[in-house]
Amino acid sequence: MIPVSEQLDHFFTEKMKEYPTQRSFLVPMLLYAQDELGCLSNQAVEYIAGKAGLSQLEVRNVISYYSMLTTKPRGRFHVQVCTNICCQLRGAEDLFEHCKQRLGIGHKGVTSDEQFSLEEVECIGACSWAPAAQVNYDFHENLTPEKMDQVLDEYRSR
């Protein structure tokens, strides 16, 4: 039994053909599998190791390098607040503080209802529209604590 959907597995198989080595597509594969599964469980690691022709150790070595990849479950909505310099200059610290209060969790915390998780992240490429945050893959820019509340409420109601 493969842990990911057949569609995704098929997508991997096809995409892997574009590369000269079996392991090349590993990093995207991990990210897409994580998107579907929530995190890279032991089962997922085993599956991907088999797919990429690697030992599970080697797959874990790679997972642990990339900051977006995780072996621990996150919330349904993963709130990533950039506090790097450009955002910091425009109030990111207060924004992050506000998110902590609002969600009642800290850096890398998950709410008890598993709806939200929070992470202080490095620059996400929104420096000219700072401060900025990503919820899952969606960008939210020029944020203020008030705007952030709206954003969070909107996700909560989804």
Binding site: E18, P20, T21, R23, S24, F25, L26, V27, P28, L30, L31, A52, N61, V62, Y65, Y66, S67, M68, L69, T83, N84, I85, C86, Q88, L89, R90, E93, E97, E122, C123, I124, G125, A126, C127, S128, W129, A130, Q134, Y137, D138, F139, E141, N142
Partner: protein, 440 residues
């Protein structure tokens, strides 16, 4: 998604299609799309490289290496396949321009990759986009699929007999993977640890084959060079600094945003006119002119032409085009801490000076900014940074060291103002740092 801005001084070359729906193939074709690559096909590799050399286009990824020259290093004959790799890992704090290109003009990137491939005799190109930019990955996937559907990619492109593939790839969160050799490792499915150089990628790159690596903006500029001619492009800028580039204005300016300005544009003007001056009626304190890794400039040092050579003479770098503006309410120590924290977080950990140095500097700065600093710390921070500089395995170590050295040199008195338990003079309610580490 991100807001577009504009200013009369702008010279729109690489941004000319922004906001015009050019991500769609038909629209792109209406706006002169895929003409450059056909011209390149017709004119041959030598001509392409000559035009590129004439354009004085220098890499927009940070190092500013002349693109035409880089391409000319690729050996003509190679037993292993050659590749073109487009660097869309954009992660340098202060830099958010590749994102706009990928969003508004993905086909220009594809076209740039194709022209580079034709120039060096590669059959395959990869466009690597950082993992956080998923919506851009989706845009790029669609654009590539369309190009295949039209026969612009794949076998016998434009009926020329040439086969050419362009593929997309994505990262998963790592600044270091923007470094060209770490980028290749990542694309090969590995941890983003840089490679020993020499050999350089142009000779031994992806899977051992010669590889050209260029930034998104560099490659997106290529079709314009090809269509407008190298000489035309060169004249847009200053000598040896051809063309225009996307400057990302951020920080305490009234109108932050990404503006396309000719190389050599005056920095003070960029802040005062283009950026609308400092916000909230505050005064300018300092500018970091090329992304977080370049040495800082004080307010009175910014009458500078924004090109690679002038900035280098001024003791800093043009870098990735991120212009970060600091007003006089900013605490340099805190800014220095956040900058260092970034490098500490992003160091790949391979080499000792960077791995240990960034960690040590961060720990010291955390304590220092929280009021636990002693006088010796300032010299020690400088000592650590000086001993990283030029000794690490890849330039990330330098990137971490330079800002610290620069800030201590130019704002030492501000560091001293934090000493002996005094609270940060810029904080209203004392330091916002959560916990004071225990002294060893």
């Amino acid at each position: 998604m991100a807001d577009l801005v504009s200013h009369p001084d702008e010279v729109k070359v690489v941004s000319q299609r922004f906001g015009k729906g050019a991500a769609a193939m038909d629209r792109y074709l209406e706006l002169d799309g895929y003409k450059a690559v056909q011209k390149a096909l017709a004119s041959g590799p030598e001509w392409i490289i000559n035009e590129m050399k004439a354009s004085n286009l220098r890499g927009r990824g940070g190092a500013g290496f002349p693109t035409g020259m880089k391409w000319s290093f690729v050996p003509k004959e190679s037993a292993k396949p050659k590749y073109v790799l487009c660097n869309g890992d954009e992660s340098e704090p202060g830099t958010c321009k590749d994102r706009l290109i990928l969003e508004h003009d993905p086909h220009a990137v594809i076209e740039g990759v194709m022209i580079a491939a034709l120039a060096v005799g590669a059959k395959t190109g990869f466009i690597y986009i950082r993992g956080e930019y998923r919506y851009l990955v989706d845009i790029m996937r669609k654009a590539i699929a369309e190009a295949y559907a039209r026969g612009f990619l794949g076998k016998n492109i434009f009926g020329s007999g040439v086969d050419l593939d362009v593929r997309w790839h994505t990262g998963a969160g790592a600044y270091e993977v923007g470094e060209e050799s770490a980028l290749m490792e990542s694309l090969e499915g590995k941890r983003g640890i840089p490679r020993i150089r020499p050999p350089f990628p142009a000779v031994v790159g992806l899977w051992g084959g010669p590889t050209v690596i260029n930034n998104v903006e560099t490659l997106a500029s290529v079709p314009h060079v090809i269509l407008g001619g190298g000489e035309w492009y060169a004249k847009l800028g200053t000598p040896k600094n051809g063309g225009t580039r996307l400057f990302c204005l951020s920080g305490h300016v009234q109108k932050p945003g990404v503006y396309e300005l000719p190389l050599g544009y005056n920095l003070r003007k960029m802040i005062d006119d283009v950026g609308g001056g400092i916000w909230k009626g505050h005064k300018l304190k300092a500018v970091v002119p090329g992304g977080s890794s370049v040495p800082i400039l004080k307010a009175d040092e910014i009458d500078l032409a924004m090109d690679f050579d002038t900035l280098m003479k001024a003791g800093t770098f043009l870098g990735s085009g991120g212009v970060i503006v600091l007003d006089d309410h900013t605490c340099i120590v805190k800014f220095c801490l956040r900058t260092t924290k970034f490098y500490q977080h992003e160091s790949c950990g391979w080499c000792i000076p960077c791995r240990e140095g960034t960690d040590w500097m961060k720990k010291t700065l955390v304590r220092f900014h929280a009021g636990g600093g002693i006088k010796r710390d300032i010299d020690n921070l400088n000592y650590l940074a000086e001993n990283m500089l030029g000794r690490t395995f890849c330039p990330l170590g330098d990137a971490a060291a330079m800002p610290v050295i620069g800030m201590i040199k130019k704002f030492r008195e501000e560091f001293e103002a934090h000493l002996e338990g005094r609270p940060c003079p810029f904080e209203e309610h004392g330091a916002a740092v959560e916990q004071l580490p225990v002294l060893a």
